[in-house]
């Protein structure tokens, strides 16, 4: 069978990563703002501090903390930095721009419907950036409409793409980015989540856990499984091991493995297959050991390294010919 052009495969894989990244940053902006508004009357300092997590979960942003303790000033600066800033490579606008650049390069592989929606989203964000909007209502609207647009793009892709290698690379890019972000979130948030609730106001404590679940688009999925009971260990288990939630690390890696196995059906064992098999087995059979660990955030950090290694192995196998 003839493979697809290696450069095109790499572009399409990164298109998946950029789309997922832009949606995840937009989602995180929404959730952070919401949480900060909810708790600012109770604990203004903590409300301002919620924004710091954004910087920790996206260490590559190069964005400096605006400082001070006025939640409005902080919110405005960071929303701008993570939504529109061209200097921040992880901002929604930068990711959409990169996604669109990648899409232009492989336009012959994309369907018209998918390209047009992506291009429209890029142009709209460009307009916001050109007006240098700092108005928060405007930015809120931009965040929420951009998220909807990204879902539209995914819909168009899923409905119109040929079921071939290209779609597999796109899906692989999407789920590897998602697994990576969920693990980054857990790594940063787990220590605080696992603090005893006595040390902090209960409403704030639970609002934060709810926000964490929302950050990885999993609150509704969680409730469907466990109802309204928010036990931190249960949340950690859910985000790492749940088999039905599309954002759980195990589900992401299984989707990745499935796409990969189909690409490599009948081929001799490759390096990414070996790494994926090992990681999948660990998540499958070591759930109890992992959850019992006293340093769960440390385990998450190891898993982040594993995901990065898989990404590198995939790049070497397919994109460097």
């Amino acid at each position: 069978m003839m493979g697809m052009l290696a450069r095109a495969a790499e572009n399409i894989y990164w298109l998946g990563r950029y789309l997922e990244r832009s949606e995840s940053v937009a989602r995180m902006l929404q959730v952070t703002e919401q949480l900060s508004i909810e708790i600012r009357g109770l604990d203004p300092e903590l409300a301002a501090g919620t924004w710091d997590d954004l910087l920790s979960i996206y260490p590559g942003s190069g964005v400096a903390s605006p400082g001070g303790d006025d939640p409005d000033v902080i919110a405005e600066a960071l929303t701008h930095a993570f939504l529109l800033s061209a200097d921040n490579p992880l901002s929604v606008a930068s990711s959409i721009r990169s996604a669109r650049e990648n899409a232009r390069v492989i336009r012959d592989n994309l369907t018209m419907e998918s390209f047009i929606l992506l291009n429209e989203s890029h142009l709209r964000l460009n307009q916001y950036a050109q007006h240098d909007t700092t108005d928060r209502m405007e930015m809120r609207r931009a965040v929420s409409s951009t998220r909807q647009e990204i879902f539209g793009i995914w819909g168009a892709i899923q409905q119109t793409f040929t079921r071939d290698e290209g779609l597999r690379f796109l899906d692989m890019g999407t789920v590897i980015e998602r697994a990576y972000r969920t693990l980054m979130l857990l790594q940063i948030k787990l220590p605080r989540m696992l603090e005893s609730p006595d040390q902090i106001d209960a409403p704030i404590y639970y609002a934060r856990i709810r926000a964490d679940l929302k950050t990885v688009a999993s609150l509704e999925n969680y409730r469907r499984t466990y109802g309204t009971e928010l036990d931190p260990m249960q949340v950690a288990r859910f985000l790492l091991f749940d088999r039905r939630s599309p954002h759980s690390v195990h589900v992401c890696l299984r989707m990745l493995k499935r796409q990969f196995d189909q690409l490599e059906y009948g081929s001799p064992l490759t390096n990414p297959a070996r790494l994926l098999g090992k990681l999948d087995a660990r998540l499958e059979f070591e759930e109890h050991e992992i959850l019992a660990s006293t340093a769960l955030d440390q385990v998450c950090s190891e898993l982040v390294d594993d995901v990065i290694e898989i990404h590198e192995a995939i790049s070497r196998l397919y994109f460097t010919v």
């Binding site: 493979g3 429209e120 397919y318």
Partner: protein, 478 residues
């Protein structure tokens, strides 16, 4: 709604007394049924559609290449079946003759031996590739795609201005303009039987398949582009997508054992046909431009071994050199024993002593062109130049008259064009596209370029030009 007509040159929609021609009456009526607000609404719709679809070209010289849309004028240009028939036959004749001429130049050179074309014209031409003598492309087809630029003279007669035998571009706009016009102004199509153009990618694919190397029955075809920053990148990706073939860059290709491979996710895969949108000079750093990062080392060797088809074939450019143009009628007669169907602009040849004397004395009436020049370099537009400029040019010309040709300034025809408050006459040209595979086929339509500025002759997209949908009618318009 105001419709102005042109007092000079041929107006395609109005006769000399300003009455609308029968062919255009229904169109004028259809536009008159729309008011200003409606026209503005449609215009916005059309512009938004181009921007959203990313139908753009890249402008250099500005920071990191700015994407612009190619302005589209919604008043379609209409050609009758009879007019088209002449154009079609004329182009098929030219393309056939050009390919016989090229095959002859690169083999036995009968045309030079018999003095049909002066030897030195060919030997002095930069586009003539001596190293390709003896390499005959499959079926002797050099120019798989030719875009010929035509003008309509004062009598409404189509005249050939030049053939583009290297990398003619613009066909994606022919298809997209049709697409756009039919969505934004569907009512215009009610009373005209317009021949469709959307088959072009199939026609191109068939022509490329037909010329694949021997023994490659299921050829792997790819479009070779210089990359995303090339001004015609949209067209390259458009054609690749429409044909369902990969769009490759030089760095995606590798030559081993005189065969061309592309780098895929499953290793190297052989490529049989390259529809290249890179100029000859950049194709292969080993043979041509050694600093080329766009090309593929070893590609020309693979081509000479007959292991890969390059479309258009390297070395085709010699046929569309300005110095060859005056001999086209002789070339057609020599190879086909036919009279040239489409007339050309009368051309004075500098190497011919009588012509040189005429040129010297009539600089104020002539457009003088340097044969190897392009893009206006080394050119004098006599009627627009000052006396001092003409004098200066005369002495340059006298030093090497054989390097020049000259033509009377040709008036373009005019066509109604929307200018935001009226339909005004603007100059237009026409570039139809001919494909050569299993015979020559001409796409029924073409790129009509329009000079959007009043009084301007410049139809180029980078300098204030736009384009129109071009309709070829299937039968008589009643």
């Amino acid at each position: 709604m105001d419709w102005l007509h042109s007092p000079t040159g041929f107006d395609e929609a109005f006769d000399q007394s300003g009455n609308v021609r029968a062919l255009y009456a229904d169109l004028v009526e259809a536009f008159n049924a729309l008011d200003d607000t409606e026209l503005e609404r449609r215009e916005q719709l059309q512009e938004m559609s181009l921007v959203n679809q990313g139908i753009t070209f890249t402008v250099y010289g500005e920071s990191e290449g700015v994407e612009r849309i190619f302005p589209f004028d919604f008043v379609p240009r209409v050609l009758t079946a009879a007019e088209w028939n002449t154009i079609e036959r004329g182009l098929a004749q030219r393309v056939t003759a050009i390919n016989l001429f090229l095959a002859d130049l690169y083999t036995d050179q009968h045309c030079l031996q018999e003095g049909i074309v002066p030897c030195e014209l060919i030997l002095e031409s930069d586009e003539f590739r001596r190293e390709l003598i003896g390499t005959l492309p499959r079926h002797g087809i050099y120019t798989h795609v030719v875009g010929t630029d035509l003008l309509r003279d004062d009598a409404g007669e189509f005249v050939v201005l030049e053939d583009n035998c290297r990398n003619p571009s613009g066909v994606s706009y022919v298809l997209e303009n049709r697409n756009l016009l039919s969505r934004v102004f569907p009512e215009l199509f009610n009373r005209y039987g317009v021949r469709p153009v959307e088959r072009y990618p199939n026609m191109l694919l068939e022509a490329l398949r037909h010329t694949a190397p021997r023994g490659r029955e299921q050829p792997v075809i790819a479009v070779l582009t210089p990359g995303i920053y090339n001004s015609a990148y949209f067209e390259h990706s458009f054609l690749a997508r429409e044909m369902g073939v990969p769009l490759v860059e030089g760095r995606d290709l590798i030559v081993e054992d005189d065969q061309v491979f592309m780098r895929t996710t499953r290793g190297k895969h052989r490529v049989d046909v390259l529809y290249r949108r890179i100029d000859d000079a950049w194709l292969d750093p080993v043979v041509f431009e050694e600093h080329s990062t766009l090309g593929v080392p070893g590609l020309m060797h693979a081509y000479r071994q007959g292991n890969v088809t390059i479309a258009n074939a390297p070395g085709s450019g010699v046929a569309d050199n300005k110095s060859i143009y005056p001999w086209m009628s002789d070339i057609i007669r020599f190879y086909l024993d036919e009279d040239m169907i489409l007339p050309q602009v009368h051309t004075y040849i500098g190497r011919n002593a009588d012509d040189a004397a005429y040129i010297r004395e009539h600089l104020d009436e002539l457009v003088v062109k340097l044969c190897g020049g392009a893009g206006g370099y080394g050119m004098l537009v006599g009627p627009m130049a000052t006396a001092a400029q003409r004098d200066e040019f005369r002495s340059i010309f006298n030093a090497n008259p054989e390097h020049y040709i000259a033509q009377p300034l040709v008036e373009f025809s005019h066509h109604p064009t929307w200018t935001d408050d009226a339909f005004e006459p603007r100059r237009v040209d026409l570039r139809p596209f001919a494909l050569f595979g299993d015979g020559v086929q001409v796409l029924p339509g073409g790129l009509t370029r329009v000079a959007l500025e009043a009084g301007s002759y410049v139809v180029n997209s980078s300098q204030g030009g736009g384009s129109k949908d071009t309709w070829v009618l299937a039968g008589d318009h009643t």
